[in-house]
Structure formats: structure tokens, C-alpha cells
């Protein structure tokens, strides 16, 4: 993939050098890797290792991210959350997505990207409001420039394009990083989002976390394309593929894509090859569709271990550093535990407060009805049979 892509693409029958255009947009033959599973640096023609301090800081966030996943899983088991879609094993994608963008940029996460949102700096308890079940979203998207975590698949990619297009019209220096899963690439909205982004030439980086499963459905039932990154050329944007368990490669590849977007080079598509190590959510039973052996194969490719080895190798990390990072991770876990072990106070009137800026007379009547019921009696816990 050549890094700088012009604004205007030659068209159809008259394109003078289709071979060149193709070379620019097709992904590299194998996913970009900079640090291999054993923790060794594997040099690459196009992509450089990020600077050491940045890498160390990202590693710290990786460790905290893993701890968030583990703690959240535990809280679900304890009944403190309604559901948790774990990103265990995908933390490198989560962290990279959050750190490659700047304050003025936007992140568009899915339900699985809790770690990315927390890494971006949003209050963890506000983030978990959704999955705890007290409201549909707990943080202020505008304050953090982090959209609500999207459940309807691929729909958020279009919102990302809209935010970017508005930014472009307003002359803002804003890049939008939009996340989705491999399964979501099959949805019509994925197609429309990539096409809109390319046609309007807006600063969006689409990052597919290809974790090989959409609930129970493996990638091979989702697509027979050479790779998901090969979809990019069909929209006229560059596609790239990267080892999704290699934090260094992710930072580098996404960094280039974000830079291109920021400089007016338009959107691009990055496919990160990773793996969903755990169940889809706590409600899922993966034994029905994959064997523990399949999962085990990915353990050696874990994003944490390889980065830890590499950082120790190059002396950016020592025992002290590890202890400090572990303590920070424990602190985060404690925050989650403390916050979620307190029952949230919910106000039934909130049902009516935000549907419209001003309550309609219909909603006023309905709120009155509920208020009347509640004033007559404590609502029974078990109102439906």
C-alpha cells in the first residue's frame, strides 16, 4: 500500500494506469506485523516501529484493558451487569484505536469496545451504565467525542461518516476512527458507509476487528473474499491488513491511516486479524460451534505477552515497571467493582424526560399515570408473570 493517495481517482474506461491504482488500494499480501508472537521485532518495508515511550504507554493501557475485561466478566457472573461482550484477546485493537487519535478526533465504538472507550478516557462507570442496564448510554458523547456504543451492526459507520463530513464542511481538524466487527462487514450499512466516505473524501479510518466470529458464525461463512481489506478498492480507498494482536503494528498502520485522513488524503480501511478468545457474551455457549483447540492456537499469539517480552528485551520495561502497571490495573478493577457493587438509583420519570426536548401532552399524561401508580404504592418487583 502506497501511503499518499490523491484526492481524485481516475474513472472507469478512461483510467490511465489501473495497475497503479490497484497497487495503491490493495492490501499487503500478508497482515503487517512488527513484533511477532515471540516478542521479536520483524522489520517491515513500509511501516516503522512506534517510539518506545508511546509503545510503553500503550502496553500499560493493554494491561489495564485486559484487567477491565476480566473484572467485567466477573461482575457479570456476580449479577452486577446485565451482559458483557468481552474483548479479551483483542485488547491491542482496543488500545490502538483509542490512542492513535487525538483529543479533537472522534471514536465510534461497538458494544464490544468498552476497553477502547475507557482507554479513551471516559469514566468507566459511565461506560458500564449501558451494560449494567440502568440506561442506554451513560456518558456524554459530545464531551468525549466518543459515540454511544452501537448495537445495531454497522449502523455507526454511517454516523462516523456524517461526523467527519460535518467536520470537513466546518473546516475542523478532526479524524474519525470507526470500529466494527468482521460480521458487520456483511451488512448493507457497511457498504454505504465506505462508499459515502470515499465519495465525500472524508477523514474516516474504518477499523475492522476481524476476530473470526460473528457470535457462532465463522469468517468463512461471512465472506469468501481474499481478505476483508480487499473490499477497500471497490470503494476507491486504500485497504490494509494488520496483525491485530500486534500492538506495535496496529499503532503504526492506524497511525499512517489517521495521518493520511488528517492531511486530506481521505478514508481508508484497516482489517486487524485477531481472535475472540471468549464467548460472544456471557449468554453465549461457544462449545456449540468451536473447539477449545481452536481457541488454544491463539494463546501464543496473545497481544500482551509478546509486547511484554519485546519491551523487556529492549529495556523499556523492568520488574518495577510491571509492578507499577499491575497496580494501576488493580486500581481500575477496584473502581469497577466499587462502582458496580452499588445499586444504581434509577428514576422512573426518566422514561419520559428525554424522548423529546419538551414532553408532549401524551407523554405528560403517561408520566402522570406512572407517578400516580408509584405514589399509591411501591411498584411490585414482579409486575409481569
Amino acid at each position: 500500500m502506497i501511503i499518499s493517495i490523491g484526492n481524485t481517482m481516475a474513472h472507469g474506461a478512461t483510467s490511465p494506469r489501473p495497475d497503479l491504482i490497484e497497487a495503491e488500494m490493495l492490501p499487503s499480501a500478508v497482515p503487517v506485523q512488527l513484533v511477532d508472537p515471540a516478542g521479536a521485532h520483524t522489520p517491515h518495508d513500509t511501516y516503522q516501529l512506534p517510539a518506545g515511550d508511546g509503545l510503553l504507554d500503550a502496553y500499560r493501557k493493554l494491561v489495564i484493558g485486559r484487567r477491565i475485561n476480566d473484572q467485567a466478566n466477573a461482575l457479570v457472573r456476580q449479577g452486577r451487569m446485565a451482559v458483557y461482550p468481552s474483548s479479551h484477546g483483542q485488547e491491542a485493537c482496543q488500545v490502538a484505536a483509542a490512542v492513535v487519535i487525538d483529543r479533537q478526533d472522534w471514536l465510534f465504538p461497538t458494544y464490544r469496545d468498552t476497553v477502547a472507550v475507557i482507554t479513551r478516557g471516559v469514566d468507566p462507570l459511565e461506560v458500564l451504565t449501558l451494560l449494567r442496564g440502568d440506561w442506554h448510554s451513560g456518558y456524554d458523547p459530545l464531551e468525549h467525542r466518543v459515540a454511544t456504543q452501537a448495537t445495531p451492526l454497522a449502523t455507526q459507520l454511517l454516523h462516523a461518516v456524517g461526523v467527519a463530513h460535518a467536520a470537513k464542511l466546518k473546516g475542523e481538524d478532526t479524524v474519525v476512527l470507526a470500529l466494527c466487527g468482521d460480521g458487520a462487514t456483511s451488512e448493507g450499512d457497511f457498504h454505504e458507509a465506505l462508499n459515502f466516505a470515499a465519495v465525500f473524501h472524508v477523514p474516516v479510518v474504518f477499523l475492522i476487528q476481524n476476530n473470526e466470529y460473528a457470535i457462532s458464525v465463522p469468517l468463512s461463512s461471512q465472506t469468501v473474499a481474499p481478505s476483508l481489506a480487499h473490499k477497500a478498492i471497490g470503494y476507491g480507498m486504500p485497504g490494509e491488513r494488520v496483525d491485530g494482536n500486534d500492538l506495535a503494528a496496529l499503532l503504526s498502520v492506524l497511525g499512517v491511516a489517521v495521518e493520511r485522513a488528517r492531511e486530506g488524503g481521505g478514508p481508508s480501511l484497516v482489517e486487524a486479524h485477531t481472535y475472540r478468545m471468549q464467548a460472544h457474551t456471557n449468554a453465549d455457549d461457544p462449545s456449540r460451534y468451536r473447539s477449545p483447540d481452536d481457541v488454544e492456537k491463539w494463546i501464543p499469539k496473545d497481544p500482551l505477552s509478546r509486547m511484554r517480552i519485546y519491551l523487556r528485551e529492549v529495556k523499556l520495561l523492568d520488574d518495577d515497571g510491571e509492578t507499577r502497571i499491575a497496580a494501576e490495573a488493580e486500581e481500575m478493577a477496584a473502581t469497577l467493582r466499587d462502582g458496580l457493587n452499588t445499586d444504581p438509583v434509577v428514576d422512573p420519570e426518566d422514561l419520559f424526560n428525554y424522548v423529546f426536548t419538551e414532553k408532549t401532552s401524551q407523554l405528560r399524561e403517561q408520566a402522570d399515570l406512572l407517578r400516580g401508580e408509584l405514589s399509591r404504592e411501591q411498584p411490585s418487583e414482579d409486575v409481569t408473570p
Binding site: A82, V83, L130, L131, R132, G133, D134, W135, H136, T151, P152, L153, G183, A184, S186, E187, G188, D189, A214, I215, S216, V217, S221, Q222, T223, A283, D284, D285, R288, Y289, P344, V346, P348, D350, L351, F352, V355, T360, Q362, L363, Q366, L370, E373, E377, P379, S380, E381, V383, T384, P385
Partner: protein, 358 residues
């Protein structure tokens, strides 16, 4: 189009069914699963597909075991795209199959809305019946399960408003089995709404007997027919799907207070059984319509409108509604304030002007 009924009778070796032989507690989910299996056994043109319906057996396990038993040609996973699923179903039906598709949750059927409204509903009419679309769209439906956003919508009004769709919502385990089989045998597209919160409800049933009874007849006794789920004299509760058990509980509670409520289980939203509903209301003179969906411009509105149009002079009080509020479906911690409850139904019954007017 081939005669389904005939096919059904031809190919149904009852003994091939690895299934309960005597009455025992059966869940709603199991009844649906058995109905699918029996339908696939009876008619090789029945195919089942959707998201996660293969190896996983569906997120609610309604398709559990179908791929293992019938192979991946008959029950299979698709790429993750609901318009794709629905559009492919249209084509497969055009070419002689009877597709049963699963939309994973109500709100995830919305991407298929254009296919449903502009094609599934219209194709038979557009072709003057030359192309029939015997498609069943199964939708795990409504709330009450502590699901997060987008997992608890009640979408029946969208479909019921769309001419050309038959819309069914069973409320009992027996109906779950029989109505799904009817739907699959039906010549027209059916939106089949499965109340999620009833998936784990149980009835003592003999599934094998149910199957035999169904296969021995060619009728569709539930489509277009409501049932009196509980007889009563003072007022009528009209409900369907997830609201039926709530209505039954309300009637039981009212009985303790000496008020006799009749409960109508609508079952078939389209076609709607005016006769059964009106007979009840003409008898009782009072009615409350219960549904989980937001009330505005809904199936509940329709039922109220129909009752007052047809039973006006029998009514002692306005027909009232207990429905979801006109707000997005709430988060788990708030949903019990939203859902029609026994208390809210009883309060509403109390307001049906039982005293003489001043």
C-alpha cells in the same frame, strides 16, 4: 405452486420423529423447535436460515439440532445481513421453497424492512397470485427479559399495518407448536412473533399427539381465529402474545375481588377475528386492550377502534388501553415500569365506569 397439503401428507413418516411420546412439561421454545423439525420432516421444501441458526441453534436455541438432523442445505447460517436474508427468502420462495427465516431480535429485522414491505408483502398481489411467497419470518419478540437496548422492541404494528402480511403471535405452548406449523404450511407470508419472555414458559403436552392432530387435518384453525382464554362476564380483556399471561393473571386477581373478566387471546393479529372479540364485548359491555408496544398508532389502537365501531351500543364505558408508553423501550432496570402489569390492568378495569353516571 404445488399443493403443500398433499406434500405434507405424502412425506410425513410419523415414526421418524425422535420426540416425546407422552404428555410432559414442554417449553414454548421446545414446542417451536419441534414444530420446525416436524415441518422440515414433513416437507422437504421447508428450509430454515438466518444468523446463528446452524451450529449454535439460534441465540434462543429455537433451531437447536436442525442442522445436525437435516443437514446444512436445510438449516444454515447466512452472512450477517437481514435484508440479505429476507431478499434471499423471497427468491427461494419464487423458486419453490418454503423458507423459514429467523430475525435475531425485533430491532434487527428493521434492516430488512424494505424487503418485507415492498416485496414480501406485495409480490403475490403484484403478480395476481402467480407468485406466492410461503415465507415465515420468525421474530423473537417484545421484552420483559432484561435485555439491553434494541433487544426488546415490539414491532407488530409495523407489520400489521402493511397489507399482505399475515401476523401471528402465539401465547401458549400449544399454540406455539400448532401456529408455527400452520404458518409454515400457509400459502402466504407470515410474520410469526415469538414472545421472548414466554420461551421458557411450560405446559404439559404430548408433542407427538399435537403433531398427529395437526398433520391429520389441512385446516389452519388458528389463523384468523381468536380464542376465549378465560370466560367471564363483567369486562373483556383483549390481549396477544406476551400480554396474554399478564391478562390471565389480572383476571385471576380480579376474580378474587369478585369481578369476572373474560380474556381473549387474539393470536392472529392479521387476519383479525372481529367475531370472537365483538361477541365477548357485546356480552360484557366493557373492554380493555392490552399490548406491550407503545400505544400510539398501534395494533391496540386498531382493536379499540374496531370494538367501538362494531359494539358501540353495547359499551357501558369507553374501551381503554393498557400498553407500553410512547417511549423507546427502557433499559433493564426500568422495564417493569413500562410493561403492562396486573396492577395497571386492574386499575384500568376499575375506571370502566362501574358506578351509575351522574
Amino acid at each position: 405452486m404445488t399443493d403443500t397439503t398433499e406434500r405434507v401428507l405424502d412425506n410425513a413418516p410419523a415414526s421418524a420423529q425422535p420426540q416425546t411420546l407422552t404428555a410432559q412439561p414442554v417449553t414454548f421454545a421446545k414446542a417451536l423447535n419441534a414444530a420446525l423439525a416436524d415441518a422440515m420432516e414433513a416437507d422437504t421444501s421447508v428450509v430454515m436460515f438466518g444468523e446463528d441458526v446452524g451450529a449454535l441453534g439460534g441465540v434462543f436455541r429455537i433451531t437447536d439440532g436442525l442442522t445436525a438432523r437435516f443437514g446444512t442445505d436445510r438449516c444454515f447460517d447466512t452472512p450477517l445481513a437481514e435484508a440479505g436474508i429476507m431478499g434471499m427468502a423471497v427468491g427461494m420462495a419464487m423458486n419453490g421453497m418454503r423458507p423459514v427465516v429467523e430475525m435475531q431480535f425485533d430491532a434487527f429485522a428493521y434492516p430488512a424492512f424494505e424487503q418485507v414491505v415492498s416485496h414480501v408483502a406485495k409480490m403475490p398481489n403484484r403478480t395476481k397470485g402467480k407468485v406466492k411467497l410461503p415465507i415465515v419470518i420468525r421474530i423473537p419478540y417484545a421484552g420483559g427479559i432484561g435485555g439491553v437496548e434494541h433487544h426488546c422492541d415490539s414491532s407488530e404494528s409495523y407489520y400489521a399495518h402493511t397489507p399482505g402480511l399475515t401476523v401471528l403471535a402465539p401465547a401458549t405452548v400449544r399454540d406455539a407448536y400448532t401456529m408455527l406449523r400452520e404458518a409454515i404450511r400457509y400459502p402466504d407470508p407470515v410474520v410469526f412473533l415469538e414472545p421472548k419472555k414466554l420461551y421458557w414458559s411450560k405446559e404439559v403436552l404430548d408433542l407427538a399427539e399435537l403433531r398427529e392432530t395437526f398433520e391429520a387435518s389441512t385446516a389452519a384453525p388458528s389463523i384468523g381465529r381468536a380464542v376465549v382464554a378465560r370466560a367471564g362476564t363483567d369486562a373483556t380483556l383483549v390481549a396477544y402474545g406476551p400480554s396474554v399471561p399478564t391478562a390471565m393473571a389480572a383476571a385471576a386477581a380480579a376474580a378474587e375481588e369478585g369481578r369476572s373478566l373474560e380474556v381473549i387471546d387474539v393470536r392472529s393479529i392479521v387476519p383479525f377475528d372481529d367475531d370472537t372479540v365483538c361477541a365477548s364485548v357485546r356480552k360484557t359491555g366493557r373492554a380493555v386492550v392490552i399490548a406491550e408496544a407503545p400505544g400510539f398508532a398501534s395494533v391496540a389502537s386498531e382493536i379499540v377502534a374496531r370494538i367501538q365501531e362494531r359494539c358501540f351500543h353495547s359499551l357501558a364505558a369507553p374501551v381503554r388501553r393498557v400498553t407500553g408508553f410512547d417511549v423507546p423501550y427502557p433499559s433493564p432496570k426500568l422495564e417493569h415500569f413500562f410493561l403492562p402489569s396486573v396492577d395497571r390492568i386492574l386499575d384500568t378495569v376499575d375506571e370502566l365506569q362501574w358506578e351509575d353516571q351522574a
